[in-house]
Symmetry: C2
């Protein structure tokens, strides 16, 4: 019904926005309408950034973080002040930003490119696990900190990785980010799963 | 801090997405990452649709609805089966879709292009009010149905328009969409403003 109520070019843009996960039909309509109402420059800047994206952004061959076309390696790896014997393993490149914002980590990173998920047909071979094992060997890594998400897939990937690293490398310690009550959250509002993890991981004072 | 953590082209796309109202930094990051992970075709289709938007979509000179470059007038106006003596006044072109989906309206539309809002510096002169008065005269309009939103600005624009139309055109009836309890909503869940409007607008059975 709505098909003939809007110009074809407008519907095309709605459809293109709708391809992004989390953008429903109404949201896509709002985005398209905002852009149409705005100065055409807004549309052109967005279009240019989209067109250049795949040529300008590639992955670091060591950490699989996002790097610019002109770079050889992520500066979070090549920077000599960073401790290459410590590797924090994340699912996706954007996870690095959150960790870097803490300002409290000075090791390097490794992006798996996802998690093991039989439901989504993602097997260990599709992740950058072989490359991680190679780095552990090449850089004589002392500690691997696994920081996959707290989902079922994230947890089982963490367990799988820990087992594999312990088998292949007897020197590297494997750790996992602590689970517990977030700062600023009262006990009564913490969910029971978090609370039981906080109890299990209690620390001496 | 996050500035140097992502490639410049990636940050550029995040910034461009962030210009859209309702798209925060984290959402813009997710959109950019989805597009980067997708086939480059997704980026190119979106870029093409953006580039062509302003050349391909214009406004109908009668109703101010969105029309394609090749069209002269909105078919919701030019279609001879539609009653030109009935005009439903909306704020924005997208509001027409919701009304058309009811399938119960056979008149024409008029998009104001917004509402009167002193806070946002929008005065009556910036809206398509003069054009509406002209249409009322030219098409010998019998009824103007005002369907601005239920916001303070929408309500005051409706009152302003009603007064103006009654002054300028003694023949045109001015009405407003009914306010009341939505279908499927129990009395106990209706907010008190809606409920008092529903009481005021009660209909005989």
């Amino acid at each position: 019904m709505a098909q003939h109520l809007l110009p074809k070019a407008f519907l095309g843009l709605i459809e293109a926005f709708g391809k992004i996960p989390g953008v429903g039909a109404r949201t896509a309509e709002r985005y398209a309408y905002f852009i149409w109402k705005s100065d055409p420059r807004t549309a052109h800047v967005l279009a240019e950034n989209l067109s250049g994206l795949h040529e300008s952004v590639k992955v670091c061959p060591k950490t699989f973080a996002l790097i610019s076309e002109g770079e050889d390696e992520s500066h979070l790896y090549s920077d000599s002040s960073r401790d290459k014997t410590q590797v924090l393993v994340v699912e996706e490149p954007l996870d690095i930003i959150a960790m870097e914002k803490t300002g409290g980590y000075n090791g390097t990173y490794h992006c798996l490119g996802g998690v093991i998920s039989p439901i989504d047909n993602i097997s260990p071979e599709q992740l950058k696990i072989g490359e991680l094992l190679q780095r552990i060997q090449d850089d004589e890594v002392r500690e691997v900190i696994i920081a996959t998400n707290a989902s079922i897939e994230g947890e089982s990937t963490a367990i799988y990785l820990a087992k594999l690293i312990r088998e292949k490398s007897h020197e590297a310690k494997v750790s996992r980010l602590a689970r517990g009550i977030p700062i600023g959250v009262d006990l009564e509002y913490a969910d029971s799963l978090t609370l039981s993890q906080a109890l299990k991981g209690r620390t001496e004072i």
